[in-house]
Amino acid sequence: MREHIVSPKIYYTIFIALTVLTVVTWSVAKLDLGKMNAVVAMTIAVIKATLVVLYFMHVRYSSRLTWVFVGAGFFWLAIMVALTLSDYMTRGWLTIAQ
């Protein structure tokens, strides 16, 4: 398979984006957004991870089969999170007779 050559400019751009997002994470952490604290932090983290996977790990330039395997990895992560949350989020549903 032919190796895709990525220009240094793209790498530098992604690096700067990741650094900026890290600063944003740190800044936002100092604000109390209530329930949105975790949502904002996780959103930034997901954007950063996506940039790393697409550019630093070359997935953007890889074959469709590679996309399938990368997708499977994230799908499995989603399974782990969803089924674990199915425990935590339903614990309060059970009302115990006093």
Binding site: L65, W76, L83, T84, S86, D87, M89, T90, W93, L94
Partner: protein, 547 residues
């Protein structure tokens, strides 16, 4: 096993192509790496067996007289850690899979031969950590490393053992990666996906679990180490953590790990049943897709280990339902194997005896798994010997029977020699009897309420415990007999023909033992999997080959 005397082995093959320790320790030949793994996992099998012997000796009497609680806890923990991480998980993929995947698909080697060797070195380094942990006194948490005991209170070598498990996991990931890439990219011309042997489908499914699940146990162990060493509150309630989160993360890998152990064994059994009954597997595609379904469903059921852990009862209901669902593809396999036997030309050679043993044990292990998947029943038998018996029927009765069946079936290919069929059948029988005597009484003990992981028990449980210990000693003898006659056969056994069983499959179309690059010419496949042609012709060729 008897055969015609005048078979001449190939002049050069992978075993004599090069000589010396260096030629083995730096080899990139998948067949030699398989043998390196064979030696390693055999060592750890007997090491794990020694701990099992200690457990069974202690449980001969109700009170603690051979060892006390502290030592007993360390014995069952090290038995579990060694057997699961250093034997059961690598056994079939790393030994038989490594040897056979390239041969079965008509390739010269795996896609990444050096990564393959690296995986063995990583396994060895991880195993050394575990051995060091044993030498320094072992660990007492149980192989499940439940928090907060493991992260805060245990005075055993948790970090060293955890490091061993962490490192060994990478060897598993590399093996899985190698198999997936090899199966995708290196199949012989004409060898389409639905012409692949079911052993390959099973290893493909296993590899998916290895690369999707193993990173999670690695991260979990890292978090455990972080809490134990740096007191970061993750799992310990006293530090603000949640112990049930550890169980979620641990079982997300460790339940699918059961399928890492048993799926390759199912692949072996598919080969044995088809070739030893001279029939194409009944419902080939169903069996192939059942492997993938088991791999996928296997990731959705982990909560059935946590029904009494304060896990939400609603989550418990979901996990219970999904656990029942995983029984469907498992049952598809069992029904299809038995349907394959119908009107087959069945031979009762040693590998087939192990295959029959596997089916029986797997049915008992699987059906009792359904008991445990039921929320109400599980509350009664949770953490009792019923669970111990259930998973030993799957892991020992399933995986080890598949492993031994496969080892006997492909031994002539691996070594170029034939072993004593009479001794081999005798050993298979001893193992079958010993296994049942060891583990069946444990179902009864568990149902009567004997908890697992206790060194002492009420006197009314003694008779069944003595039966179990007696069975374990028979089982131990059963496992030692093959070591003797297989090693004997390597030097004194008659030379094996290329295809002693008259079997279908590319691995039988090259010499025994195969040349370093597996085939003189790249095979072109124009036939379906398990295509036996005229059964009478095959029966004759089998007779000729085996004398």
């Amino acid at each position: 096993m008897e055969t015609v005397a005048e078979i001449t082995p190939p002049r050069t093959h992978y075993l004599n192509a090069t000589y010396g320790v260096k030629s083995w320790l730096l080899t990139t030949d998948h067949k030699r790496i398989a043998l390196l793994y064979l030696a390693s996992v055999t060592f750890f099998f007997f090491l794990g067996g020694l701990f099992a012997a200690g457990i069974r000796i202690e449980l001969l009497t109700p009170q603690g007289d051979f060892v006390q609680a502290e030592t007993y806890n360390r014995m069952f923990t090290m038995h579990g850690v060694v057997m699961i991480f250093l034997f059961l998980i690598p056994a079939i993929p790393a030994v038989l899979g490594n040897f056979l995947v390239p041969l079965m698909i008509g390739a010269r080697d795996l896609a990444f031969p050096r990564i393959n060797l690296l995986s063995w070195y990583i396994y060895t380094v991880g195993a050394l950590f575990a051995v060091l942990a044993i030498l320094f006194g072992g660990v007492d948490t149980g192989w499940t490393f439940y928090t907060p005991y493991s992260s805060t209170y245990s005075n055993g070598n948790v970090i060293l053992t955890g490091l061993g498990v962490f490192v060994v996991g990478f060897s598993s990931i590399l093996t899985g990666l190698n198999f997936i890439v090899t199966i995708h990219t290196m199949r012989a011309p004409g060898l389409t996906w639905f012409r692949l042997p079911l052993f390959i489908w099973a290893h493909y499914a296993t590899s998916l679990i290895m690369i999707l699940g193993t990173p999670v146990i690695a991260v979990t162990i890292l978090l455990l180490a972080l809490e134990r060493l740096a007191h970061v509150g993750i799992f310990d309630p006293a530090l603000g953590g949640d112990p049930v989160l550890f169980q979620h993360l641990f079982w997300f890998y460790s339940h699918p790990a059961v399928y890492i152990m048993v799926l390759p064994a199912m692949g072996v059994i598919s080969e044995l049943i088809a070739n030893m009954s001279r029939k194409r597997i009944f419902g080939y595609k169903f069996v192939a897709f059942a492997s993938l379904a088991i791999a996928a469903f296997g990731f959705l059921v982990w909560g059935h280990h946590m029904f009494v852990s304060t896990q939400s009862v609603y989550a418990g209901m979901v996990f219970s339902f999904l656990s029942y669902a995983v029984a469907i593809p498992s049952a598809v396999k069992v029904f299809n194997w038995t349907a394959t036997l119908y009107k087959g030309s069945i031979s009762y050679d040693t590998p087939m005896l192990y295959a029959f043993g596997f089916i029986g044990f797997f049915i008992i292990g699987g059906m009792t798994g359904l008991f445990l998947a039921a929320l109400g029943v599980d509350v009664h038998v949770h953490d009792t010997y019923f669970v111990v018996a259930h998973f030993h029927y799957i892991m020992v009765g399933g995986t080890i029977m598949g492993y031994l069946g496969g080892l006997h079936y492909w031994w002539p290919k691996i070594t170029g020699r034939l072993y004593s069929e009479a001794w081999a059948r005798f050993a298979a029988l001893v193992i079958f009897v010993g296994f049942n005597l060891t583990f069946f009484p444990q179902f009864l003990l568990g149902y009567m309420g004997m908890p697992r992981r206790y060194y002492a028990y009420p006197p009314e449980f003694q008779v069944l415990n003595v039966m179990s210990s007696a069975g374990a000693s028979i089982l131990g003898v059963g496992y030692l007999i093959p070591v003797i006659y297989l090693i004997w056969s390597m030097r004194y056994g008659p030379h094996a023909p290329a295809n002693p069983w008259g079997a279908a499959g590319l691995e039988w179309r090259t010499s025994s033992p195969p040349p370093t690059l597996n085939f003189e010419q790249v095979p072109v496949v124009t036939w379906e999997a398990y295509e036996f042609g005229d059964p009478s012709e095959n029966a004759e060729s089998r007779m000729e080959n085996r004398g």
